[in-house]
Symmetry: C2
Subunit: 283 residues, 2 copies
DNA sequence: TATTATTACGTTAGGCGTAAAGATT
DNA sequence: AATCTTTACGCCTAACGTAATAATA
């Protein structure tokens, strides 16, 4: 039977051209490689080398053997990787979400219901989330719309309402509510990593510019020190203190008031436990 | 790095269900398999088994690992086979011929010009011979026609003329020559393994029946003891004695007088040496 | 002389089997 | 009691490295 270690030595010899260099590269002695090459010829049952008195080279069959060896080693690596990834997938719940806020509730809930599982999450476009769900690349999707698919459950579990925050001195500060068309044209501070909200704002307010801040501290500082309007939502508890000095004005458009739906395969309806868990918390 | 022997033990365990039976099947001790399974888990870096106090079974990852192991072992077998077959092909000249007679000259000539090579030959349809030549499945083709292909040489080297042999008492015995249409309807003794001649006779003499003899002794006996006509050719020296009592009458149709062409890849024109060799012999 | 492949040789580590233990049916 | 897995233990092979050999550039 073939020995993958021996094949690796063969490949290294093919790469380096001499047994000595191959030995050095592999941190083994020359005699070991000599013996391995002899043993490989026994295993294959054919001559693989053209030998001179103090030189050795691959013959045509040897070149063929190296080609096969490379394929086989690569296949072995792939096999290892596939098994490891399969095992990982058994111990990982992967969540793809359209926005960060639902993750603040879902991730802790998952951890508590499935303490032995690794929870992986990422923000994605709605279309990418649906692909992930259908391909099995994620077990749980979080969408701002109710998608009905055969063999998949879609469960509403959380609502988020967008508001704007402006300093008390701002033109809009007197309003009790606004619409996207009323605020279209104003420039807004915006955080990065806010999922579908980013795209939605650009669609609903095509005349506005958005000053996207990747760094939380930069964003916070700009909130304090500038009069630029920004957004918040009913779920952004973290920002209550920071925004206390500003006026919060809800946006009435239906697009600014979304219900999040959790989507998962019907076989995975164990996740409904987690939904209950979250709904209990929010009550 | 994965060890194919260990993977084989894993597969055997998957097949048998217990370590003991796997050990017995592989003619090794149970502790060895236990250790191997432990070592496999180390190599993969994941748990492969669900262990009880005195029972062990594959878990989901283990099943996946077995699947991968089977693929890998199969790939290893294939790699071995491919290298061996490649080596064999380097030491084998494969000849595909449309008829046996040319092989009587070509095979000994090849052996004498290439004493270190194995010569393999088979009778095939003309279309199959051309496929073999083009695919590289054979290095030398022998055809009854001159086929001109780019990058291939086609060289005439031998002629064969078909005659019929009838007892002196036969109706046809007085003729000095015959045509297929004249002998169409007579039933003929025929040997098997005569290549394209078989098909040709059936096409040229659609009203005749052919009593095909697979066994040489049966055929010879029928020649001696029956008055059924048979065929011979100028190359069938072996049958001169046996047919001495019969009258040999040449068939004049062009289809019964063929020139054999050797076809080979232009890169292999070393075979022309062999052609000279044969032509020298026939002179 | 420096480099290379191969052979010879002594050592050692790792793999195997036997035996025993622990546990289940 | 019989079967099965795992651990313990001792042996022994087989693989490795060092050193020596032979040959080349």
């Amino acid at each position: 039977m073939l020995d993958l270690n021996e094949l690796e030595q063969l490949i290294t010899f093919a790469d380096t051209g001499t047994l000595s260099m191959a030995a050095e590269k592999l941190h083994i002695s020359q005699p070991t490689i000599t013996r391995t090459m002899q043993h490989l010829e026994e295993t294959f049952g054919v001559s693989l080398f053209a030998r001179g008195k103090n030189k050795i080279a691959l013959n045509d069959t040897g070149i063929k053997a190296v080609e096969q060896a490379k394929q086989l080693l690569s296949a072995a690596e792939d096999a290892l990787k596939r098994v490891r990834e399969f095992d990982k997938s058994l111990h990982t719940i992967t969540v793809s979400s359209c926005a960060p806020a639902p993750l603040w509730y879902v991730l802790p809930a998952l951890s508590s219901v499935y303490p032995d599982m690794t929870i992986a999450s990422s923000l994605k476009e709605i279309s990418a989330i649906l692909e992930d769900i259908c391909s099995g690349a994620c077990q749980l999707g979080i969408l701002p719309i109710d998608v009905k698919l055969d063999n998949y459950l879609s469960i509403p579990f959380l609502e988020e309402s967008l508001s704007i925050c402006v300093p008390a001195s701002h033109n809009l500060a007197g309003k009790s509510s606004v619409t996207f068309s009323e605020i279209n044209g104003f420039n807004f501070l915006l955080r990065s990593e806010i999922g579908f909200w980013d795209e939605m704002c650009r669609v609903q307010m095509p005349s506005s510019k958005f000053l996207v801040q990747t760094d939380k501290f930069a964003f916070d500082e700009l909130i304090r020190e500038s009069s630029l309007p920004c957004f918040t939502t009913n779920l952004a508890d973290d920002y209550k203190n920071l925004l206390a000095d500003r006026v919060t004005i809800p946006i009435t458009d239906p697009e600014a008031n979304v219900t999040y739906f959790m989507i998962c395969h019907s076989d995975d309806k164990a996740y409904t436990d987690m939904i209950n868990h979250i709904q209990r918390r929010l009550r």
